[in-house]
Structure formats: structure tokens, C-alpha cells
Amino acid sequence: MNNIKPKVLVVDDEKGLRIGVQRLLEMEGYEVDVAENGTDGIKLGTGNEYDLAIIDLKMPDIDGIDVLKSIKQKFPNTVCFIATAFASYDTAIEATKLGAQSYIPKPFTPEELLSELKSGYQKRLLSLEEAKWLREREERLLEVAFEKTRLNTIINSITDGVLVVNKEGLAVLFNPAVFRFLELSDVKVEEYILDKLRPEILELINKFLLSDSKEKRSYTIQLELKPNREFFIEATASPVFHPEDNLAGVVIVFKDITELKRIELIKSQFVSMVSHELKAPIAAVYGFLKLMSDDKIPLSDEQKKEYLNRSMIRLDGLLKMVNDLLDISRMELKTVKKEIRKICLTEIIKNILELFHFEVQKANIQVNFNYQTERFCIDADSDEISRLFTNLISNAIKYNRPSGSITIQINQIGKFVVTEIKDTGIGMKEEEKKKLFSEFFRAKNEFTKNVSGTGLGLSIVKRIVDSYSGKIEVESEFGVGTTFRIYLPN
């Protein structure tokens, strides 16, 4: 016996036997508890876990079989022996069915008892060991299952599509998002998938499956799954290697790049528009210079002077456009540091109107603006706000009718200072209104053909207003006039 004493419970109504067995076992190195009836036996046997129990079959209160049942129910690994003088084959069978180790017929010799207990205790140790292994295995399985669930949950939550194909071309791992990219309604685990893929994707996977390369690089392709830029994807395939460095399969990650492509298109359209708009004045100036330097074409001094003048006007417009573009680019890049100070709209508008004094007089436009009212101050960058209203007032003058009027009013409405600029100009058609704030849009009709402009002014206005979380309202009637209302928070 080792240092740990095996714990034995002896349940017997026969006092002599109880004491005899207890003494014998304690001498042999067991720790012994005794119960003199079935009730106490159950109480002790279920209250503590014993290694071994010797239970008398016939007791006055509770039958030994019931004691056995109770103990086995609570501690299945307690090794129990049934002891009785009324040996009968049936009882023995029933007892072993209920989990008794064996049946010890009374009377028994100390040697018989000790031998039974010794083998019982061995069994007890083995079953404890087994239980421990089982428990550990269970725990590990749970852990593995948890890891697997966790991995699945993560992969399933990704909006990008993930597909892992093994060397045989079977789909071994994928997430629901991938169906959309593969244009398949369902994929089964371990299903052969290569024949269901688009040729471009198949080619991508075959870059690895059909080569012996141990290179750990990825390949990426872009594919238009639905025409007209409706659904654009990017697929990146990377090899998966076994620890021993041979190819296990390929993992393909699919991304929806439709939005990216859309922005790319807008960007390239913008670049095209810019180059066209920049080219036009250059071509005009170039043309004039060429004309004037061509000896075969007779031009009067007056004509030459006019062409020089017109060249200057075009160059001036070009310069303005470049400046506007630089402004827009600065606003896009957010490199302009706003110098936020308290500024008052009444003063800003007054200053702008003074700058336009000459133009206003030339077009004989009547300006209605009451300087004497409240000052209407907001926290903003003075340059930006001046730019905003300069563009709007300049438009109100340029697109006005001769002897028309401009009415400017400032009011506080809720949390906003609202500046209203109303002109009696050419107005806009409904379809023109929609495009009003887009770059290079200029209403083109018989009224506007002699008005110069970059087509960027209102786009800049909108960017500035947006950057202050403000809002613009436009009311316009073709041939009657336009009203801009600028809401700036204060």
C-alpha cells in the first residue's frame, strides 16, 4: 500500500463482524468508517466518496441492494462488495448488475476479504485514472470544438469571400459571403468545385495547383462579374502549405471593389474634364498667336489688338481655373488649416460688395442690402467664407439681366445664420439645377454664352458649406431669377 490510505466503508448490522473487519482493515493500512444499518450506510456512503464499500445484504431497515444503488448513483467509481450469509445466485447477479464488484459469501476468512479488497482497490484506481482521461479528453474536445466554432464564426462574419480549396480541388473551407463572388447558390464541404468556377478564377487557383513551386507569393486578379460596373471583384489567391512545406491547397479571398471602381471612374472622368477645360483656352490663345504670326493671313492692327485682348481674357480665365482647381484639391486633401475666428457676415458681404462695385455699376444692377442691421457672427475661417460669398455674389452679377437687382438678407433661423442672395437673372431649368454643384457644369444656353466662368465656383461653394456642416438651398425659375440660401451654424 502506498501513503494514501484507501478509504473503506463497512455497512453491517452485525456488531462483531463490523468491529472485526474494521480492526483487520485498519491494521492492513485502510481507513475505515462503519455504519450499523442501511440508513447510516447511505448517509455515509453518499456523503463522502469511499474507495471501497462492503455492504451487508440483509439489514433490518434498508436492504443492502438499496444502499448499493444509492452509493453507485452518487459515486459510480466506488467499488462495492455485497456480503451476506444468504448466498443466492439471483441476488449475486442482481448485485453485480447494479454495479457491485463482487459478492462475498459469509463467513469469509481475512485472507479472502483482503484479496477481494486488494483487487477491488486496483480496479478503483484504474477507473479513477480512466475517468481522469475521459475528463481530459472531453475538455480537449470541447476546446477543439470551441476553436473550430470560433474560427467558423470569424470566417462567417467576414464580408469578404473566403474559399479554401485543397490539392484535389475540393472546397474544404468557405464562408457564406463567398457564394456571391463565385456566383453559386450553394457549395458543399468537400465538394469538387473547380469545374464550377469562372475560367479566370480557375486559372488563378491553377497557378498553384498545377505547379510544384514552393514560392509563398499571392496572385490577384480583378473581374467584372456584372457588366456596366455593377459588380466588380478582386480575388487574391495564396498557397497554403503543410508544415513539411508541400502544398496543402489554395486560399482565395474575394473582395467587392465595385465602389472603388466607381470612384476610379469618377476620378478619371474628372481628369478628362479638367484636361479638356484646360486645353480649350490654351488652344484659343495658341490659335490667335499662330494667326497673328502667319504672314499669309492679312490682319489689321485693330484685329491684332483685339486678338491679343481676347488671348489675355482666355489666359485670365485659365489662371482662375487653375486657382479654383488648386483650391478644390487643397479642400479634398484637407491641407487647408481653417483659422477659426469670430467673423461677422454683415461685414464680409459689405466688403465683397465693395470689391464688385465696378461690375455692379457697369451692369447697372441695383443691390439691396441693409448694412445697419445685426452683425450675424459665426465661428469660421474668414478667407473661406469670403470665398463662398464672393462666388455667389459674382454669379448673381454675371448671370443677372441688365438693370436687374440683387437682394441680400441675413437672418437667424434656429441654430443657423441664413444668408439669402436673390437675383433677377436668367434662372435655371430644372435639369440644370440638378447638375449645379458638379465640377465644370455651366448652364449653356443663349444667355450664358458670353459669360465667362470656370465651372468650379459653385462646386467650391458647396465644399465650403459642407465643411461647416451647413446647407444650401436653391430656388430658381428659368428666365426669372435664382435665390441661394446658405445656412451656416453659429
Binding site: S272, K279, A280, A283, G287
Partner: protein, 135 residues
């Protein structure tokens, strides 16, 4: 000598319009001008020119194509060369829609000429058309 051939120029850029007018006139043609595709159509109907030269990008990015199509559908227009002027070459990134045969047939332009116009080449092309018609 034959009476001067009458060329209709349509461009929304009044500077370029005037320059091309002077250049083409200097080569011995009569030039009439229009400043928008709408005006271009009106002048075409009224003056029945011997050839039309239309700028592509005016009110819209394809105004020139639309006007060309309209002129070519006209009984008189079908009979004369119509050239389209454009700076929208591939170098600027514009794909100006005349890439398929179907589109080209719809537009029906006889020539698409890049800006700036090289006047000698332009006149040569024009004369080829007039020559073809005479023979």
C-alpha cells in the same frame, strides 16, 4: 472659276470659331459660322453649305455627334461631307463613343479630325470629297 464653296463651322468656343473661319477663308472658301448645335442646325437648313465642320464637345460631350447624325439624315446633308473636330483624343482619356461600327454608322461623320486643325491637311481632305463628288 467655280463659285466659292460654302463651309459651315459649328463651335461653341467663339475664339476657335473665328480663328478657323479666318484660316479656312484664307484658303479660298466662304465660311459661315454657328455658336451652338441648335444654331448650327438652323444655319445648315437655311444656308445649305457644301460642307460642315462641327466641334464635338459643345453643350454636351456628344453634341457634335448628335448634330452630325441629324445633318446626315437630311436630304441635302447626306450629300455633303461632314467633319467632326475634337480634342477628345485618347490622350485625354475620353472615349468618344464612336468605337463600334454601329456607333460610327449612327454618327455617319465622314472624318473625325483632331484639334488643333492643321489647315493644309484639312483642306486636302475637304477637296478629296469635293473631287469624289464631281467624278
Amino acid at each position: 472659276m467655280n463659285p466659292k464653296k460654302k463651309i459651315l463651322l459649328v463651335d461653341d468656343d467663339i475664339d476657335l470659331l473665328e480663328q478657323n473661319k479666318i484660316l479656312i477663308e484664307s484658303m479660298g472658301y466662304e465660311v459661315i459660322t454657328a455658336n451652338s448645335s441648335k444654331e448650327g442646325w438652323e444655319v445648315f437648313k437655311k444656308s445649305k453649305p457644301d460642307a460642315c465642320v462641327i466641334d464635338l464637345i459643345m453643350e454636351e460631350y456628344d453634341s457634335g455627334f448628335v448634330l452630325c447624325h441629324r445633318i446626315k439624315k437630311d436630304e441635302h446633308g447626306n450629300d455633303i461631307p461632314v467633319f467632326i473636330l475634337t480634342s477628345a483624343t485618347y490622350e485625354t482619356g475620353f472615349k468618344f463613343g464612336a468605337s463600334t461600327l454601329e456607333e460610327q454608322e449612327w454618327i455617319a461623320a465622314d472624318e473625325i479630325i483632331n484639334k488643333p486643325v492643321v489647315i493644309d491637311e484639312f483642306v486636302q481632305k475637304l477637296e478629296n470629297y469635293f473631287e469624289m463628288k464631281r467624278s
